[in-house]
């Protein structure tokens, strides 16, 4: 084979040279040995030939060193040669339209190079696949879940993920929670976090060794998942079943998944405010945003978060916890009356806001931003009611804009109510195109058309899309859940439509110290709650004496309970408030879609007084 011949040609003169060198060195050593009287040291050498004393050792050391040096030189020459070869091949390929039969040996002979690449894989070498049986656009949670699903169901499947990010697929929830609670000062580099049960893991779903290189994808024996990073899909030709990337490459596909997610929204007032303000604003979504904000939190004195939903509140709590140690002022402002105002009923939202304040956050409710300017080294935020906040840095957590740019070239429908690509109950946009995750506006048989921006939904819908791409033809059925933690004392899990504008019925018991997110995960031994259901749940521990019911006049403590969200008397959403490992029951109630006369009876099913 040309490769071997070329390699040998390069190595041959080297081999000759090094062997000459060895022989000469050997001769010299041996000569020395012969001349000097033999000190027969009965030194027992564990390796190497028997007999001989120090001189032999020197001889072997010399030979060893020479061979090592020779080997290193040969290695570097081979690598350089391979690169030049690759480049030549690319050039030839780009001229012809046929894909090159890329020999897999170059990639295999240098496994160390691949393994030593950092976790954020750099853009792959020159030659790329031109066809992928399964093409996944977007490299986030939904895409990864689909890839896994496809691989599980279609043996030998070749899956290509194309992402504009430079990182391999990773999970988002820790970016606004666990990573901030880490004691490790290198956390921004390692991106590893300790779960409550003490076990550490990376935010990346899989290490780089899980994936095959894109250049190997078409040839590798049992197929695999390859990730093409730093490339954006700019144009989609649905009739021709192919896409065009930002670097001009074209890739054809048999089946395609669009899992492009979204980009954070910004406030118009900030966009209009000019560069100085924009420079000091973070739109939080990706790993790089986490790294930047973490740096800011250590260097600056005041951070203001605009937005009172999941992301805003979680970041506020995470930063608030650090505020004392860092001497950092954390301000959170939003138009609603309380944190999670659009999700939790008012009484609970108010209670939650008090908890957030206890985490060290200055919360400004009913705050509508009028304008933002940069003045005297500070970002000045003026509210409509006249309040002014002067801060060093702004984090805008005001929602997500689904990424639907491909809809135009692909001729796909966009939903006018919820945004995102409009797909059917099986997540299909066209016969061979599916959409999953944040960008999918799908038909939920039980709850109606919706678009969900939660982690577990990305997993569930990604997995479903993967199943359907391999012929399952199943509709969205397994209801996804979501969760949030606001500090160590307040945590909840929820499922279905959890909209505070719906009428709600809340059933509460008094909480004990055992009812906290920390205790819950410790007990179930899981790091994050969406998976605690698939783990064996520890036996329930009987709670001590029930606390006496507080008399109505005192301030209520909504320690733990269940909140039902109703639409036309049917439960469409449930929040489990500081009550954990009960999601299967909640899921069942939503699935049934029945009208229940007495929700207190339904609440009994949750055993809220027990662990």
């Amino acid at each position: 084979m040309f490769k071997c011949k070329a390699a040998w040609n390069k190595l041959a003169p080297l081999a000759r040279a090094s062997s000459t060198l060895c022989r000469q060195a050997g001769k010299r050593a041996v000569l020395r040995h012969e001349r000097t009287p033999q000190f027969v040291q009965p030194a027992h050498m564990s390796s190497g030939p028997s007999g001989g004393g120090g001189e032999n050792t020197l001889y072997f050391v010399l030979v060893g060193a020479t061979c090592l040096a020779g080997g290193a030189y040969a290695y570097s020459t081979l690598v350089g040669d391979r690169e030049r070869y690759q480049q030549r091949i690319t050039e030839i390929e780009s001229r012809s339209s046929k894909p090159a039969a890329e020999p897999s040996t170059p990639a295999k002979t240098q496994p160390e190079t691949a393994a030593s690449e950092p976790a954020s894989a750099a853009a792959s070498p020159a030659v790329e696949p031109t066809h992928a049986p399964y093409l996944l656009i977007g490299g986030g949670t939904a895409s990864f879940a689909a890839a896994r699903s496809i691989r599980a169901r279609d043996p030998g499947a070749r899956v290509l993920i194309v992402t504009e990010e430079d990182d391999l697929p990773y999970m988002r929830p820790p970016l606004s929670k666990e990573l901030w609670f880490s004691d490790d000062p290198t956390v921004t580099e390692t991106l590893r976090f300790k779960q409550w049960n003490g076990k550490e893991r990376s935010i990346y779903f899989q290490p780089p060794s899980f994936y095959v290189s894109p250049t190997e994808l078409e040839s590798v024996e049992n197929g695999g998942v390859a990730v093409l990073t730093g490339r954006k899909v700019m144009h989609m030709d649905v009739r021709g079943n192919k896409v065009k990337l930002s670097d001009g490459t074209e890739i054809s596909y048999d089946k395609c998944l669009i899992a492009t997610g979204g980009i954070p929204r910004n406030l118009q007032v900030i966009e209009r405010a000019g560069d100085e303000v924009m420079k000091r604003t973070t739109l939080f979504r990706k790993i790089e945003d986490f790294k930047a904000l973490e740096k800011v939190s250590r260097e600056l004195k005041s951070i203001t978060i605009i937005g009172g939903g999941f992301l805003g509140s979680e970041l506020a709590c995470a930063l608030g916890r650090r505020s004392a140690d860092l001497g950092l002022e954390v301000v959170q402002m939003f138009p609603e009356k309380g944190n999670m105002g659009k999700v939790l009923p008012e009484y609970l939202s108010n209670w939650t806001t008090d908890k957030v304040k206890k985490e060290g956050v200055k919360v400004l409710t009913e705050a509508v931003v009028k304008n933002v300017t940069y003045k005297e080294g500070k970002v000045e935020i003026k509210l409509k009611d006249g309040r002014v906040v002067k801060t060093d840095h702004v984090v805008a957590a005001v929602g997500l804009e689904p990424s639907v740019e491909l809809a135009k070239s692909a001729g796909l429908e966009i939903d006018s109510d919820f945004g995102g690509f409009r797909v059917n109950a099986e997540l299909q946009a066209r016969s061979n195109i599916w959409v999953a995750g944040d960008a999918a506006c799908f038909y939920d048989i039980k709850l109606g058309r919706r678009r969900v921006e939660h982690h577990d939904h990305a997993v569930v819908s990604g997995r479903l899309a993967g199943e359907n791409m391999t012929g399952a033809r199943k509709p969205y059925w397994h209801q996804s859940m979501f969760w949030s933690d606001l500090g160590p004392d307040v945590g909840y899990e929820a499922i279905g439509i959890v909209d505070s504008s719906l009428p709600t019925v809340g059933v509460f018991a008094k909480a004990t110290a055992k009812d906290t997110p920390k205790a819950a995960t410790e007990q179930s031994g899981t790091g994050i709650r969406s998976e605690s259901e698939t783990e064996a749940v520890a036996g329930s521990v009987a709670v001590g004496k029930a606390a006496p019911t507080p008399p109505p006049q005192q301030k209520e403590d909504y320690g733990k309970g269940v909140i039902f969200y109703l639409r036309d008397k049917v439960v469409v959403g449930i929040v489990l408030w500081n009550v954990f490992n009960r999601m299967p029951i909640a899921r069942k109630i939503i699935k049934d879609g029945e009208e229940h006369a007495d929700l207190n009876e339904v609440a009994k099913l949750f055993n809220i007084h027990e662990e």
């Binding site: 990864f144 879940a145 896994r148 699903s149 599980a152 043996p155 999970m171 929830p173 820790p174 666990e178 976090f193 779960q195 076990k199 893991r201 935010i203 779903f205 899989q206 290490p207 060794s209 899980f210 049992n222 009923p345 008012e346 009484y347 982690h455 569930v460 997995r463 993967g466 199943e467 199943k474 397994h478 009428p503 709600t504 019925v505 809340g506 059933v507 509460f508 018991a509 790091g527 994050i528 998976e531 698939t534 783990e535 064996a536 029930a546 019911t549 507080p550 209520e556 299967p584 699935k591 049934d592 229940h596 007495d598 207190n600 009876e601 339904v602 609440a603 009994k604 099913l605 809220i608």
Partner: protein, 155 residues
């Protein structure tokens, strides 16, 4: 003694432990074990293995997925007295493959590969259940994501 109050459209009920002691009279719809839409546990209604089960983590989808499937299928279909005794070659193949990816399949002392296959089997035995929620599979420690919801998992 529980009490109830109304705040606008939101009703709030406080209950004591005693209030909730009586069994619930709420009626739940009976589940159809053969519902084609439902997510199934490790074993599908027709007896096949559900390779996409969250309980398997990514074992069937990684670089050693094919070897894992071969080994586990053989084990599952084994009718020998010592279940899986004829599957040694498959398990060896799987172990060899896994040794090539120590990052993905950490080789711990109280091991993984073969015993985790057995552990899966034990989980399978009571498995007439089709609900993934009730399958208490002992999750293989091999891959990082050991649970199907792809959330940070305990390995």
């Amino acid at each position: 003694m529980s009490y109830c109050k109304q705040e606008g459209k939101d009703q709030i009920i406080f209950v004591t432990k005693e209030d909730h002691e009586a069994p619930s009279n709420a009626e739940l719809v009976e589940d159809d074990p053969n519902d084609p839409y439902e997510d199934h546990g490790l074993i599908l209604p027709n007896g096949d293995i559900n390779w996409n089960c969250p309980c398997l983590g990514g074992m069937a989808s990684g670089p050693c997925g094919q070897q894992f499937k071969d080994a586990f299928s053989c084990f599952h279909n084994s009718k020998e007295e010592v279940k899986g005794s004829e599957c040694i070659d498959f398990f060896r193949g799987m172990q060899e493959c896994m040794q090539k990816y120590p990052e993905l399949y950490p080789q711990e002392d109280d091991n993984e590969s073969a015993p985790s296959g057995e552990a899966e089997a034990e989980a399978v035995l009571p498995a007439d259940s089709t609900s993934s929620d009730s399958v208490s599979a002992s999750v293989p420690t091999s891959e990082e994501v050991a649970s199907g919801t792809e959330s940070p998992a305990t390995s």
